[in-house]
Every structure is written in C-alpha cells, then in structure tokens.
C-alpha cells in the first residue's frame, strides 16, 4: 500500500508538514497557507485509518534486555531439579551452537524458584513475581516464543525491527508510519530507558529507511525529557515565544515569495517544538500525581544493595518505576507507542541474586501500570508487552569450562513473553515446552508471528503495511509472520 518517497507521489506530499493537522493550531503559517490558496497538506503523523477496526490504540512495550530466565519466571520445569548436575543426551545438543557453554562439560541447572497457580485461570508463575501474579487473568503468557538469533544485538534487532540486521524500522516506527499519532503536542513514538544501556542502542528504536519523523524519540527521566527542550540560559519563555512568532512571520513571507511547501512544513515544526517545550515538562512533572499512585508504582522504594553492575548500578528502582508511570502519562496524552527499555537481564552468572534484584525492581511498577490502566479504563485499548530477545538455557553456563556454575546461557529455541490489554485474550497460557524447557511442543510463535499479531490488534494487515526501499517492499514481518488467533480476545 504505502510506498517510499520516490515511488509514490502521495507520500511525498504527505511529508510536507504540519499545516492542516490538529497540531497546527492557529499558527501564522496556517493563515499564510490559506492566503496562498494552496491545497491542504497532511501532517505525516496525523492519524490515518487502519485496514480494519482496531482493538489497540496505543502500545507500551516493556523490553527487558538480555534474556530473562523463563525457567525461573514463567515456565516451571521441576524436572530440572531432578536432573540437576547431569548431562543432557547428545541428541539434544548435537547441532546446537551456544554463545558460551562448552558442550563437553555442560550440566543441567535446577531452579530454586517455587511456582504457584494464580487467578481464575490458574496460571503458574514464579515467586519472584508476586505483584504481576495478581494479573494472571489479564495477561496472555506465551511459553513458546522462538527466534533464530542467539547473540544479543541481532536478537534485539529481530525482536524490535523484525529482522536481525541494522537499518530496519522498529515496531513503533511502523505503527506511526501506518497509523499516525493522535498526540497533539508530543511525538508519536517515545522511548524511555533505564539500566546500563542496551546492546543495540538507538538501532532498537530507529526508523531505519523510513523518514526520521517516525523514529523513537528518547525521553529521559532526568534533566530534559527531550534533548534541547530547555531554552539556553538567558532566554526566557517570553523571548522564546517572540522568537517563534518572528520566525513564523518571516517564514510566512518567504513562503508567499517562493511557494515551496517545505517552508511551511519547517516553520510548522518550530510551532510544534514550541508546544512540546510547554507540554513535555508537564508530562514529566509527577508532583500532581497523588501520593498513593507514586507509592503503588514504588518510586520511593528502598533499593536493596547488590554487588553487581549488570542491572545498571544503584538508582534503577526509581528510574524504572518512573518510566512505568511516564508510560501511562504518555499514552493518556495520545502517544501511539511507548518503548521502555531496561538493561540488563543477561544472567550468565550470579543468576539467583541478580534476577531476584531485577524482579524486585520491575515486578511492582509493571503490575501498578496494569492496575492503573485498568482503573482508568485504558487497558482495553492499550496493548502492554513484556519482551526480550531470547530466553535462557536449562543447562548451567560453564564458560571457559568453569565448574562454578551460577548462570544460564542464551536460549533462542523456546522462551516466554507476555501480552495484556489491547484486544488480547487474558488469562491464558499459549504454547508448551518439553519437560526441561529445551524445545517447543505446541503452538510455536516466531517473532514475525508476534509482530503480525501486534499489527493485527491495531487493525493493520502485516502483509499490506509496506514501504518500498532499495527495490523491495519491506514489512515489519520481513518475509514471515502469521497472526496468532488464539491470542485474540
């Protein structure tokens, strides 16, 4: 359907600015444009119709970088404790490549976690997730995810962009490209990050070959929420407003003189920037949230000390909780896609301590976010995702032949993610793995299938949401993808 700028004239025109969008307000440019008698032009981010009636209108994607251990969180395998310390039959590991495990001495690693059934559906979840467990009936747990990539960066690219290579647009870019964003004063795709930084950096929320209008805008939870949002020292709001007005007036003159719609577009972008300067600080100002909300998200929780830097060092409890609360506030203000990253969950060693620590950080605020969305009647139209690039092995990691095994290696063949809200049928477990969690037995879901399903929830057909680049029509689902109907409400 939609094509790249060169191939399709309509897109080129669509690129031309903010003039007639809801966001344009009554700027001088809009007036000048009308005076010039030019045809209306569309904001590239103004809302566009979907292929079918959507269930989801916004998405909050919580991305736990590194590969949280599904065996210790979502997919109980008591058999592992029986087999603890034993070798696996060679038939299982023969053709498998590991990142760090040395096959010869590899032994099964049991789990100290206890699992209990939760909710009406009786979903089994780990004792590390007491808060989330209360939402068992809201979430669809997928125990049968699989991916090809077994290194972090390619895996992250695959999970976020649909292909394990650089240069592809991420989920949020595709959604904004296909659907626009209802937000008046904020970008349609916002990224919030905590922890030590992801392997993939900005490529995880890049717009790839799509115009950069669609890229994720990294908000920070300290200092400016948007880069360069504050005026330079000595420039107050009055002067800023006078500057924007003068720029609009000068731009309008130039536009009348030269008639290039791109002039209108550029001046309108200044007007939106000015509105963002006003709206973004209000967004991150949590002082008007009631105290109980702050408590529920756990912003001021005491953070236990841990001797590990993998999770990003001290301060992550507050940072992660703040991001969860900001995610709700962004969606409330019409932002289409919020991407929350935390790094890292890459527990090659010291798994028990560090996974416990990370879960203490994430469990409460994520559950509070689900509560909050539900209480505000927003969960039905807001899709919440818990994702990572892969899971972890039932084998302990014996890097360098080490016998001191305290962690697990990367496991792409079977891992768990969950989804909630936005047209997802909660209270179900999809997929089944074998008794040690090595392979999938039922309902395998590939990353491309997950993406096809997400687009479907937004009323988009993953086969029709395309962009022509370098001679090919690209899709979020690359060359694969099937909607997983069992996940739909």
């Amino acid at each position: 359907m939609m094509k790249g700028p060169v191939m399709n004239p309509v897109h080129g025109l669509a690129r031309r600015g903010f003039l007639t969008s809801a966001a344009s307000g009554t700027g001088l440019m809009a007036l000048a444009h009308q005076l010039a008698g030019a045809a209306p032009v569309a904001n590239p981010l103004s809302p566009k119709p979907s292929h079918a009636a959507p269930k989801a209108k916004a998405c909050i994607c919580i991305y736990l970088e590194g590969g949280p251990s599904q065996i210790d969180l979502f997919d109980p395998k008591p058999k592992l404790n029986e087999l603890h310390g034993q070798k696996l039959p060679e038939s299982l590991t023969k053709n498998v490549r590991f990142a760090f495990i040395q096959k010869e001495g590899a032994r099964v690693l049991g789990s100290p976690r206890t699992f209990a059934r939760h909710g009406g559906c009786g979903m089994e979840l780990s004792d590390l997730l007491p808060y989330l467990s209360r939402h068992a009936d809201d979430i669809a747990l997928v125990r049968s995810m699989h991916t090809e990539a077994f290194n972090h960066h390619p895996g992250q690219l695959l999970m976020n962009t649909g292909a394990p290579v650089f240069g592809r647009p991420s989920m949020g870019s595709w959604l904004n490209y296909g659907l626009g964003s209802p937000s008046r004063d904020l970008p349609g795709y916002v990224v919030l990050s905590s922890g030590r930084g992801t392997s993939g950096g900005t490529s995880n929320w890049g717009s790839g070959f799509l115009p950069s209008t669609y890229q994720g805008v990294l908000f920070r939870n300290q200092g400016d929420p948007v880069l360069n949002l504050s005026n330079p020292p000595g420039v107050d709001a009055d002067i800023q407003e006078a500057t924007i007005r003068a720029l609009s007036s000068l731009g309008a003159g130039q536009y009348k003189h030269l008639g290039d719609p791109e002039i209108a577009s550029r001046v309108e972008s200044y007007e939106l920037a000015f509105r963002m300067q006003a709206s973004a600080p209000e967004l991150i100002d949590l002082s008007r949230e009631d105290k109980r909300t702050i408590e529920r998200y756990g912003l001021d929780r005491k953070e236990p000390a841990i001797k590990a830097s993998r999770g990003g060092g001290p301060g992550q409890f507050r940072s992660f909780a703040t991001n969860c609360l900001l995610a709700r506030r962004l969606v409330e203000r019409g932002v289409r896609f919020v991407n929350l990253f935390h790094a890292s969950w890459d527990h090659h060693s010291n798994l028990d301590n560090e996974l416990t620590h990370n879960c203490q950080m994430a469990d409460q605020p994520v559950a509070a976010l689900l509560d909050d969305l539900k209480a505000r009647g927003m969960l039905d139209s807001t899709l919440v995702l818990w994702l990572s690039e892969f899971g972890r092995t039932p084998l302990g990691e014996n890097r360098g032949g080490s016998s001191n095994v305290t962690g697990r290696d990367h496991h792409p063949f079977a891992f768990s993610i969950w989804m909630a809200g936005g047209g997802i049928k909660g209270g179900q477990v999809l997929g089944k793995t074998d008794e040690i969690g090595w392979s999938i037995l039922e309902d395998p879901v590939h990353v491309n299938d997950l993406h096809a399903t997400i687009l479907h929830l937004f009323g988009m057909d993953h086969l029709r949401l395309t962009y022509r680049f370098q001679g090919r029509d690209f899709r979020l689902t690359d060359v694969g993808g099937k909607v997983v109907n069992k996940l739909l409400a």
């Binding site: 960066h153 650089f166 360069n228 330079p232 002067i239 001679g471 090919r472």
Partner: protein, 757 residues
C-alpha cells in the same frame, strides 16, 4: 501441445535417450526455470549433464534411490523449504511423481545429448533491461554545441510537455549555491567581495573554479562518498569498540577528491589498492573502503558468522555503489526481479572471500616521526632500567633486583604502538560455497569468482581476482558504473537523480527521466578520462543548474517532483552542512582539513547509551570544538544526536540517497543545542561590535546567515524583534549583548539558513 524438441548433437554409440514420459514430466513442470540461461538454484534439468551435476544445494538425484533424491523431496511437497514447482504453479500429480520416482529407482538412465525445452516456452523475450545495454553516445537534439548539450536535452523534454525552464537565479543565490554544493560551506566574505567585484564575462566560471580549488571541495565530496562507504569511527554491534585509525581512510578520500583523482583510479585503489602492481601506502590506505564493515566483538559470537557478514556487506556495497544493483537480494535465493542467480551472488562473493583485514603501519610522515621519537625515548628508558638492573644484580640485593625486573617487564609492555591504517589484503585462499538460504552453516556447491552473466564478460584468465573485478567495473564495456556514478553526481547538484532510485538500476528501480541525457553524461565522463572536476563543472555551467529554485504553480501541477528540471530544487542541507553553515556564519568555524575525528559538545546522557557506558565522550578542546561536521566522531551505537536528528545515515550499510525529514527535534536543536547557542552568542557579539545603524547591522547578520540581504518586510520584522528583545532584557546585565544574541539566534534559525536555494 507438448512438442519434444530434440537438439540432437553428436550422439555416442551407447547413448541412452531419456524416457519420453519422464521428459514430458520435466518439460511440463521443471525446465522452464532449470535450463540453459536460467538455472534457478544453480540447477539445470534440461540436459543429462545438468541433472548429473546438481544445483547449489547438492545433487538432485541419487540414481537407484528415489527416497534419497532431493528432486523427489522437492516435488512431493513433504519439505516446506524445498517445495517445487513454486506457487502459483501446479504441483505434480501423483502419477507424474510416480513416473519420476520409478525412473530414478531404475537407475535414472539418460546420457545422450538431448536438450529439453519447456512446454509452451520455445521463445524467450530478448530485449534486455535498459540499464544492461551498452552506453551509447546519443545525438544532441538541435544544433547545440556540446557545452549546451545538457540544456538541449532538458529543454527538448520540457517543450514536449509544454513547459519552459526558469530564469537564472540572482548572483547572490548562485554564489551561495555553488559554494554550498562544491564545498559545503557558504562563501567567505572575501569571496563575496571577489565575486561582486568581477562583473566581466566568465565571472561565474571563475567563481566555480575558485570553489573547486578550495581544500574544502574534497571535504564536501568526501562526505558524500563516506555515505556510500558506510564510514564510522567504531565497530558497531554490542561492544562497538573505537576505531581510532578509521579516519585515515576518510582523509584519503578527501585528498583524492582534492587532487581530482580520475574516478576509475579512485575506484580501483579502493577496491584493489593492495593488488595494483607497484602500489604504495596510499593505495593500501584506499582499501580502507571495505574495512568500514561492522565488527561484532560481543562475547560468544561465532567469528565465522560475522566474517561472512562482512564479506556479504562488501559484495552488496560494491554492487550498489558501482553497479546500482540490489545484488543482496540474491544472497538467499535467486533474485526475484533482476536476472541474477544465487550462484552468481556467490561468484561475486568469491572475489572477496579470501581477503584478510590487515592493519599496516602508516608510511613515513609526521605521524611516523612522532611515534619514532616516542619509541626512541622509550628505548632509552628501557636501556636505563637494564643498566640499573645490572648494577643491582652485582650488589646482590635480591629484593631490589626483583622490583627492577618487574619495572622492566612493565616498561617493555608499554612500548608506544606505531600508528596503523586499516587495510584489506589478500589472505589465505578459501573455497567459496553457495550458502543455502544465505545460511553460512549450510554449504552448497563450490563456485569460483565471476561476474553476473547478464553483464559483459570479464576477459581475464581462469582465476579472476579483485583487481580484475575493479578494472571490469570501470571498463569500457560496463554499462552500469558510469551511468550510476554520473547519476549520483547529478543528484547532489539537482536534488534528485535522472534515475531517482540512485541505488537501484535494476528492473524495480525507476526508469530514467532523460535516458539520452544520462547516456550522454556517462559517455562524456568516460571520454574525459573520468575527470570529476571537469564533469561537475560541465553540470554547473549549464543553464539548468543556474535556474531559480522558486516554486512555480505550472510546474507544481505537472511535475511536482521536478523530474523535468524546469527549475532548480530547493534543498535542506545535509546534517554536517547544517552545522558547518552555522559555525561559518558565526565566525567560529575551524577550517582545518583532515586528522583524527573530534568530539564537539553534545547533550549529556548520550554516550551513556552505549554498552556498559563504554564510549566515553571526552569533549575536544580548542578549535577541535568547532571543526566541520564530517570530523565529528561517529560512534555507531550512540551517534552524535545533532547529526541523526538531521537524517545523517547510521553508517551501518551503504546509503546513496539521504532522507530529508522535517521534525520538531530539528527546531529544538537549532534553537537550543549548546553548539548552536554558542554560534548565536558569537554572531551576536560580531553584530554588536559592528559600527553603523541597527538596520545595517541586521542587514549584515542576514547576509552572514542566509547569504542575501533582507527584503523590506523582513527588515521591519527584524527591527521590531530587536526592539522587543531590548525591551524584554532591559535592566539585565549585558542587556545589549543579550539582545544581539537573541537576534543572532533568530537569524540562525531562519528558514533559509539550512537551505540551498
């Protein structure tokens, strides 16, 4: 309907013909794609030799064992990856499959020289795609002399659409256009005076020459080329380790453009500088072109996987830059649209598969001298320590001896490393396999180096090398390279290519808007010995280039993309140039050319996004804070935000055509980023210090930022803004300086500052 056509060649005495029922099954279902000239998957089923040889994935049949034959797996539909014939063609009937199976089980007898022809497909469409046809010098329309040829072609087409070209732009616009296009910088005040003072015939040409002779010419065109070369200062992927020596390749490109190196030589040195007879350090340095591929040092990666990925990138980049082909599509399967098979992809792959990444010491020069000096000092220190050790040993003080030995060992380890340059060179021979589905672990048949059959042959010996490939690319027969490159140059000066899809000259790319002009340019460029400056000047002296860029309603309606060049294009400058223009306008710009990449100020919290916060951003000092954008350190996992906000490519793959987006983040950058505010402060100070009236100072500011004086309306708006600023700042410290700073900030944010008219 199914006529068995037998091309009977000399049949041997014991020749066994193919069973006619089997022949019919193959002709009906298989031969259309598996035949001479179109061996999909590397497999031919139209001759007994082809059948015996098998395809990319291996043998097609095992005589006597149909159950072990790939052919049967493929046609039975049991293997989802290998289901033949592909949709929408009909699957084989049970009877047809049975005929094949029983023939295989009986030994698959066939050894005569019959060549099968697909049913109903006797004749092939013959006319090749336009871009694969030879470049011919077309006749210039009318009786124009060659200098005006460009305009003759363009005007003929415009006239046929009932359109006329636009008038020439005014002198200040032309001056700024030429300097921005050729150097990426606005004209200096001195150049403005020179051009104003030269009203004689040929002033424009002289001005173009001055811009071409500027050392900044090389910087501008190098930056364009670096997009193709996917140049960056770090490895990419998780660890994203620094590449402190990558800049040497960048400097080589700058020097090559400044020296006006002929393009065929330019290509040759970058692709095969290590193999040119008598090559020296400079040619070696040029091979850094293909060292810009990503490197994954993440723990636990399979090194072979990422070596293969680097080679894949080299093949794809070479094909895109020089041939304008999306060859990468055939990495995993035969190309869906263009006539390239997967086997041909790996034949190209073979040219690069035995290369090694070698860091060579830089040759003699200032850098080497600095290292030599440090090395001498180090050697002296080692000598002193050894002497001390000798004395101590004589004294018999065991504790002191141990300490001195430790010192010596540490010292020896800390010898200064010689400066090196990244190069590509021949390594040990590696066999090249077709990789089934592009998977490096699934090795198919072995292939040797070769170029795609649809292009003119590579006339070399049995074992063609990378050097042969490089020569073939710019050889007189090659229909693509000259077209692709002139089109790329054209796009930089006109805002879009004659072929709009600069990176795709295949059947899925756009057809040229002016095919004859394209060929005329390609032919002229080669005829002129690939003389780049001469070629660019040819474009720039044309009336088409010198047209006004003002929007025209008639053109807007009939030709919204300006394909017909009825006017010039108004272009938002590239990210680096946006920075450079503001630094230049405010008098801060450092004009130093070349050297290691620098780290100008960037907002806090950016480099923290890298792996474990590993890429520390230590701000450069002195003039290095104000170097041109192309010298900004490019860290792949946390690129300089200003560059990315203005659509700089991410340097992960070759990019021939940048996006030009317009976002509020760009506005925030120009208004508030510390670098741009520093520009405003500096320009404000300059204006405040000028003598003369407010009006003349405002005019001066407008000239500096946009290259043109303000209109009457603009003058009034600017004056009113100055008054407002003074009023708002009244009573504050340095109120007058503050007022001029905010005026300068306004001037640097004018719509036309980051625009080439």
């Amino acid at each position: 309907m199914t006529t068995l056509i037998l091309a009977m060649l000399a049949a041997g005495a014991d020749a066994v013909p193919l069973d006619s029922a089997v022949a019919k099954v193959l002709q009906t279902n298989c031969v259309a794609c598996h035949r001479q000239g179109k061996a999909k998957g590397g497999l031919r089923l139209d001759t007994s030799e082809g059948l015996a040889k098998g395809g990319n994935s291996g043998p097609a049949i095992v005589p006597g064992k149909s159950s072990e034959s790939r052919l049967m797996r493929a046609v039975s539909g049991t293997d989802s990856e290998l289901s033949m014939p592909p949709k929408p063609r009909k699957s084989l009937s049970g009877q047809e499959a049975g005929i094949l199976a029983s023939w295989i089980d009986k030994g698959a007898r066939w050894n005569d020289s019959t060549r099968l022809v697909a049913s109903g497909q006797e004749a092939e469409p013959t006319k090749p795609h336009w871009a694969f046809q030879p470049v011919k010098r077309p006749k210039v329309p009318g009786d124009a002399v060659s200098l005006a040829a460009i305009d003759a072609f363009l005007r003929q087409r415009l006239a046929s659409e009932g359109l006329s070209p636009s008038p020439e732009a005014d002198r200040p616009t032309l001056l700024r256009r030429v300097w921005l296009d050729l150097t990426g910088l606005p004209p200096t005040l001195e150049e403005i005076r020179l051009y104003e003072g030269d009203q004689a015939q040929g002033a424009y040409e002289r001005m173009v020459d001055r811009a071409m002779d500027s050392p900044h010419f090389g910087e501008r065109w190098a930056r364009h080329w670096l997009d193709l070369a996917r140049y960056a200062d770090s490895d990419g992927y998780e660890k994203d380790t620094a590449r402190p020596n990558a800049f040497r390749y960048r400097d080589w490109v700058i020097e090559a453009f400044n020296a006006n190196m002929p393009f065929d030589r330019f290509a040759l040195e970058q692709l095969a500088g290590d193999m040119i007879p008598g090559s020296g350090p400079s040619q070696r340095q040029a091979t850094g072109f293909h060292r810009n591929t990503l490197t994954n040092k993440e723990g636990g990666v399979d090194q072979e996987q990422f070596r293969v990925e680097a080679v894949v990138d080299r093949v794809n980049t070479t094909a895109r830059v020089f041939l304008g082909l999306t060859l990468g599509c055939s990495q995993c399967h035969d190309h869906k649209y263009d006539p390239f098979s997967q086997r041909e992809y790996y034949e190209m792959f073979a040219f690069f598969n035995s290369d090694a990444e070698i860091d060579l010491p830089v040759g003699q020069g200032p850098e080497h001298a600095v290292w030599q000096k440090a090395m001498d000092a180090h050697a002296a220190k080692v000598g002193q320590t050894e002497d001390r050790l000798k004395t101590l040993k004589a004294s018999g003080d065991a504790k002191a001896v141990a300490a001195a030995e430790k010192d010596l060992a540490a010292l020896k380890k800390s010898a200064p490393k010689p400066p090196v340059m990244p190069t590509l060179a021949r390594g040990p021979e590696r066999p090249t396999h077709v990789m089934i589905r592009g998977d490096f672990l699934r090795k198919g048949t072995i292939v040797s180096a070769g170029t795609p059959a649809v292009l003119p042959p590579l006339n070399t010996g049995a074992q063609p090398t990378r050097l042969d490939l490089a020569r073939w690319l710019t050889g007189p027969e090659n229909p693509l390279t000259s077209r692709v490159i002139v089109n790329w140059f054209w796009s930089k000066l006109f805002g879009r290519g004659i072929v709009a899809t600069l990176e795709d000259f295949g059947t899925q790319g756009e057809a040229p808007s002016h095919p004859e002009l394209l060929d005329w340019l390609a032919h002229s460029y080669r005829l002129d010995g690939w003389d780049t400056k001469r070629f660019l000047k040819r474009l720039m002296v044309s009336a088409a280039y010198r047209q006004s860029s003002a929007w025209r309603a008639d053109l807007g309606e009939k030709d919204p993309y300006n394909r017909l060049v009825g006017r010039q294009s108004r272009l938002r400058l590239e990210a680096e140039a946006v920075r450079d223009v503001c630094l230049a306008a405010s008098g801060l710009l450092s004009r130093k050319v070349g050297g290691p990449s620098v780290r100008p100020p960037q907002p806090a919290g950016i480099s923290e996004l890298t792996y474990a916060n590993s890429a520390k951003w230590v701000e450069s000092k002195g003039e290095d804070r104000h170097r041109r954008g192309l010298y900004t350190w490019f860290q792949r996992t946390s690129p300089y935000p200003m560059l990315m906000t203005f659509d700089a490519p991410d340097a992960n793959v070759c990019v021939m055509r940048r996006e030009r987006s317009t976002t509020p983040l760009q506005a925030l950058t120009l208004l508030n980023d510390p670098v741009f505010f520093e520009c405003a402060v500096s320009l404000g100070a300059i204006l405040k210090a000028e003598s003369g009236s407010d009006a003349s100072r405002l005019r001066q500011g407008m000239l500096r930022s946009t290259g043109r004086p303000p209109s009457l309306d603009e003058e009034a708006t600017l004056a009113a803004f100055l008054t407002t600023a003074r009023a708002k700042l009244a009573g504050k410290d340095d109120a007058e300086a503050g007022a001029w700073t905010v005026v300068a900030r306004l001037l640097l944010n004018l719509e036309s500052v980051p625009v080439r008219e």
